[in-house]
Amino acid sequence: MEVSLTAGAIGKIMSGEVTTEADMIPVLQVTELKQLKAYQDPTRERFRMGLSDGTHLHQGMLATDLNDLVKQGTLQFGSIVRLTHFGVHVVQTRRIVIVRELEVIKSNSDIIGRSVPGGKHNDQRVADSGVKLNTTGSEQRGSGVSQVNNIETGRSNAAISPQVDQRPVFGTGSSVPASTTPSTRVDSNPSAGHGVPRLDHARDPPTSYPRQPQPPPPMYANRGPVARNEASPRIIPINALSPYSGRWTIKARVTNKAALKQYSNPRGEGKVFNFDLLDADGGEIRVTCFNAVADQFFDQIVVGNLYLISRGSLRPAQKNFNHLPNDYEIMLDNASTIKQCYEEDAAIPRQQFHFCTIGDIESMENNSIIDVIGIVSSISPTVTITRKNGTATPKRSLQLMDMSGRSVEVTMWGNFCNAEGQMLQNLCDSGGFPVLAVKAGRISEFNGKAVSTIGSSQLFIDPDFVEAHKLKDWFEREGKSVPCISLSREFSGSGRVDVRKTISQIKDEKLGTSEKPDWITVSATIIYMKVENFCYTACPIMNGDRPCSKKVTANGDGTWRCEKCDKSVDECDYRYILQLQIQDHTDLTWVTAFQEAGEEIMGISAKDLYYVKYEHNDEEKFEDIIHKVAFTKYIFKLKVKEETFSDEQRVKATVVKVDKLNYSSDTRTILDAIDKLKTGDGSSLSINIKPEGSHYNADAVNTGTGSSGTRDPSSVQRRDFGLHAHQSGQSGNHYSSGSRPHGGDATTTSCNVCGNSGHVSANCPSSTTEPQGQYMGGSYRGTSGSYGGGIPRQHVGSY
């Protein structure tokens, strides 16, 4: 249970606003607990507490009645207490809080926040010593830094400038000369508690704390002179910055530096650059510099270095460009100072991430900025994308997966493609699976959810974070075999990602029926092409860098009119609109191929072909060309979408790209598929029971059965071509569950036992039965239905 401290309570106490519980009943945390020897009465103990409200610290004295709480351990260091009865007394300009009654809400708790001792108590009364500012164990947001005991000496530090407060310690190498503090601490010894004023400065060390004066804090030596030159030496956490802060200083590391940009706007020209800072608290803020200031600081700032920055102005952050979790951003001006800290401060991390799991991305809003980390499961080479306005940008995509079992596509633009992209490609090609951390990636809704880099993104390959190591371990153990559901692939990659499907899957998986079109790749053969209307007359007017291509109608006088451009042209373009029937080993379907794909397939431009047929009337040549097209095998990239044609829903497939089949790589793909099939072999999908009456017009098949008992490869071929559409899908586990019985349309053989196609259960390699001779026959015939049902032996005689 997280109890929150009353913020600002200490501040109010110090300022005098709050003097008793009547004003406020604050909830504070005990960040210090010391036993004092009662001045007056040496036998009685008194406890002195440091009370913190999360940002400020103040001393309080515990009424002796409450001593038992401490002795029993109820009240201890880190306890969260509610002061139900207390008083603030002013003793010699110092305010002491005497606690007469309190409620312990939580005995033991981690220190919340980081407290600065209240700024009023700077009296240099020496007297005491050994004050420890214990802020150990506080959880910093994101940085998990262990605290430093700011050890102060009691006495000698009168030299310190009075105004200096104890600086909050940010890390081990704190830049704060802790020397200032002791005095403050010392002085806040309550004196009014017992009604016996204790003169602070008269207090002797022995009477104060068991822990005696300690040597001056080491950091003092580190930073002393430098710090003193600071105009405002008080370092505050970035998260405490606000436009109303007075003179402030922050100490932080540069996590990102943007380039120096020139701009011109109605007010004139200028240049600007910005950089992001991260401090030990985990606070982040962007700093912007204009014109002269930009010049001044641009060279000074180096990513990864620590700087002390002061005297800038705060203004609200521009959320459009600034994705840091801070409401403000800093603007530096001539009076600002930037000073580099040369010593390392391990407390301030180099980068801070707020990683989300890939599973979270799914539910996040579009265009939100996130950090994500994952294992790169695949990466594709750079492609150049031309935008509508003509500019060409390089783009590279990769799949990132993580422990949530989901994967997402990460797109890199511009420079990232070459730099990090290439590195990742090399790593992946050599078989590795590197960890990639993305900072400030934007979620986009491109084919599901995807993450893109933006100008201020940063990519880290195999970073040295806890999360990265965890991911790597998980991946080694199980991640490799865990099937990752891709957020980006849910709608199938847009063709960049080579989602291989078989044609029957189009129907089985009802591709195209969702809101968005599905993009798939199939390897298939053209078996028929409609000869009529293989092209149309198109508008040649250029629209940007693409021709309009809308259909033009003849005006009768030899000119052609385009509706969209609202113009007439003399010469029209001829563009392909091929209706093709393509088939693979599972199914066949009609697709439409337009100009680009059409040309690839036909091998001749539409215009030429048109001329051949209509102008020259060269039938023979035409036939020739058409014939050449048939039975050629290609890799088709299809866009599948369901469309409504006068009350009827039809799934239409358009050929987006046609590639010649590269047997070598295709074989590899198939080998991969086989491998996956083998490893995924456990789940036996139930089978496509093929009932009677296969509608083969495959006489070929029947003749093929004559060779029952032989493994005749040729009969395998015949099976392919003889099959009709509507085959129930292949049920490889690899694919979707095509286990729908199609009435009367028996075709593929799928094994009952293991769900693979190509054999029946009796022949199933995973079963122990000997493949019988009827294997071939049984599978083809299918007529007497139940070959799926595992009784193939019946068929032996049925040929």
């Binding site: 070598s664 074989t667 590899r668 493994r711 040729s714 054999h759 022949n763 390699p765 493949p771």
Partner: protein
């Protein structure tokens, strides 16, 4: 088509399983002598193919014949497969054809 004695797809390692039987293999020609051709199987083993091929020989050839020893084939049929060939794929094929999916082949 004569299917009376099917030839098993072999690479170097699998050849020894079929000694005395008909095999087929794709070999990369290293050296060609009178009466024999020294070649490299798809898994980088040296294979000697006895017989006389028809010149010219391309880099990759397929030989079908009887396996005499674990690294010799007496070839009856020689086929040129050209100068570029995906050896890895063929190797995988051999493994699959003799392993899990034997029943599909022989």
């Amino acid at each position: 088509m004569d299917t009376s004695s099917p030839a098993a797809f072999v690479n170097g390692a699998l050849l020894r399983r079929y000694i005395g039987q008909k095999v087929r293999a794709v070999i990369q020609v290293i050296r060609s002598d009178i009466g024999s051709v020294i070649g490299k199987s798809t898994d980088d083993q040296q294979i000697v193919v006895k017989g006389s091929p028809n010149p010219p020989l391309t880099t990759y050839i397929e030989v079908i014949g009887i396996a005499e020893t674990e690294n010799t084939i007496r070839a009856e049929v020689w086929t040129n497969f050209g100068d570029s060939f995906d050896v890895q794929n063929y190797n995988e094929l051999c493994k699959l054809a003799n392993g899990e999916f034997r029943h599909l082949f022989i």
